[in-house]
């Protein structure tokens, strides 16, 4: 019996019609438990996922513990090698987690259950009452399990649970150049500032992908933030003016003339007159080092970048590094950090911290309203009656900063990965 072929999951949810300049996403992609399960299997199990930044563990034995792709892992700088190790956080004996604090420094990770001990390179170094095993305990094969792949790109550490995933630098594709920009702005020494914002929302994770790189919503959703800036003398008449780009492999960026001040390096009245000279000097230094054109991008332009599937690096009024993970079709956890040049002057750092908090994070003047918007979309989906979201904006022109080409880049990759998973 021949059966009519059902469109595969990805293609069923993402409909692109270039002739009609229409791009639509089926709302069930944000509500279906089956699609959530498929995403875990086909996307999160086969992508490079952000673990953390090397600056978080500068010294041998420094570690951080966190979930990656929903699985508890930890990242530790090996005492012998100085290299970054990423381990599954589970004892090879009977399973208990061996790293039990979010951060710290340790030479040995001892499982409290039966006291098996592992060193910072993962080797099993202690088993109480080992004589009970005779000569049969193969210590060498019972070290901590490394995640299938772990690589660092200039300090940004990623892991993948798929041994066959392409090398990280190839995977990053066009996103590399944008990562280089934010790292080079910091003279090559980018640092994650201490303090982690851990929050969440009752919305599908892909809504935060869209929102994090959405130039169209800024003026309407974030009116109160813009009012605050304008009241302090910032000229926002430039609006959100720039381009959006598909960076390959699902990565995408929105790059636009900064409507507000940037710690590197665009002065605004809020910074005070005293900061003018210092910001001018910073610009001149970057121009001497990187050339006028690249320095202008570093200083005058904002970038909101997605590294597929779930890492956002937004270099806006400050630099945020944000990752998120679905816990169901309708809820996600979010973890956000702030990045800054390691050797920044204290007064510049203070300005950067202020700029970050005013807009970003769960106590800022903008992020809570994004949370409200995404939860509101999720509630709207539950109402039914409308089958599709429209993501067509700007298909008939060179994509501008308030268009949606960057979201389409994400959705095409999402579609292809979900489809390909059905061939496995």
């Amino acid at each position: 019996m021949t059966m009519t072929a059902e469109p595969r999951t990805g293609s069923r949810c993402v409909e692109e019609d270039p002739a009609a300049r229409r791009f639509r996403v089926r709302r069930s992609a944000m509500t279906s438990p089956e699609i959530f399960t498929a995403e875990l299997d086909r996307i999160f199990a086969h992508s490079w996922l952000y673990v953390g930044h090397e600056s978080e563990i500068p010294e041998p034995g420094d570690y951080v513990r966190r979930p990656v792709g929903g699985r508890p892992v930890f990242m530790v700088r090996g005492v012998k090698t100085g290299q970054v190790n990423v381990f599954h956080n589970t004892c090879t004996h009977r399973g208990a987690v061996v790293c039990r604090k979010d951060r710290g420094n340790a030479k040995v990770f001892q499982c409290f259950y039966h006291a098996w001990s592992f060193d910072s390179e993962g080797s099993l170094v202690g088993v109480p009452g080992r004589d009970a095993y005779g000569d049969d305990l193969d210590m060498a094969s019972l070290g901590l399990a490394r995640v299938a792949r772990a690589e660092s790109y200039r300090g940004f550490v990623f892991a993948s649970f798929d041994p066959a995933v392409p090398d990280l630098t190839d995977y990053l594709a066009g996103a590399r150049e944008y990562l280089d920009l934010v790292i080079d702005e910091a003279d090559g020494h980018l640092q994650i500032i201490s303090g982690t914002q851990e929050y969440g929302m009752q919305a599908n994770w892909k809504l935060l992908v869209e929102n994090s790189i959405d130039g169209y919503h800024a003026a309407s959703t974030h009116d109160t933030y813009f009012k605050y800036l304008v009241a302090l003398g910032t000229d926002l008449s430039v609006g959100v003016s720039g381009v959006t780009r598909d960076l390959g492999n699902g990565h995408a960026v929105l790059e636009y003339l900064a409507p507000w001040g940037r710690p590197i390096a665009k002065w605004e009245p809020l910074f005070g007159d005293a900061a003018k000279q210092e910001i001018g000097e910073l610009r001149a230094r970057l121009a001497a080092e990187h050339g006028e054109e690249r320095a202008r991008r570093m200083c005058d332009f904002n970038r909101n970048m997605l590294i597929y599937p779930n890492l956002i690096i937004n270099d806006i009024m400050a630099v945020t590094v944000r990752t998120f993970m679905p816990v169901s079709a309708t809820a996600m956890t979010v973890t956000a950090w702030e990045a800054a040049p390691r050797d920044e002057l204290p007064e510049v750092r203070q300005r950067r911290l202020d700029s970050f908090l005013t807009f970003l994070g769960p106590g800022g003047f903008a992020t809570p309203d994004d949370i409200e918007a995404l939860e509101s979309c999720q509630q709207g989906f539950a109402s039914g009656g409308v089958e599709w979201n429209d993501i067509s904006r700007g298909m008939g022109r060179d994509p501008q900063a308030t268009d949606e080409e960057q979201m389409r880049a994400f959705w095409r990759r999402w579609r292809d990965q979900l489809d390909a998973g059905e061939d496995r």
Binding site: S194, G195, Y199, T224, L353, E372
Partner: protein, 168 residues
Amino acid sequence: MTGLLAGSLAGLTRTEVEDFLYLEAELLDAWELDDWLRLYTDDARYVIPCTGDPAGDPSRDLVLIDDNRLRMQARVERLNSRKAHREYPHSNTRHLVTNVRLGPVEADELPVRASFTVWRFRGGRETTYVGGYEYRLVLADAALKIRSKRVVLDMTALRPASDVAIIL
């Protein structure tokens, strides 16, 4: 509503300080934010460190909120407008303040510690914030004012609370 008039910080009783903190809680629960702001000095700070980093220093570390008086004013204006979408319409909140402890006066400041639970109800969802308040109170024109309020959360993450769009 006016704040507490007092002769000297050292002479304040715990009951008087409790009355003052209850007044603040009442103003917040009533969304009388302009009156709430009047309880604070012109050089006031309102700080909430990240969950998991209770010692977070806003001059060095990433925190959740680090408002000077200017940003407190902007926060109030935002919440009073209809465009703070996360808080329009406003949540029902209930600030419960307890375990109030007065420290010895330091220079012109009275350190006060207290425990709190803040309940937040909105759109059928309830969330709870639990933690400690650390105040620095001062006398300004014979009235008690808050120069600094630091809110240390006991939750290990803002989940399920999701945000601190309300004032704690």
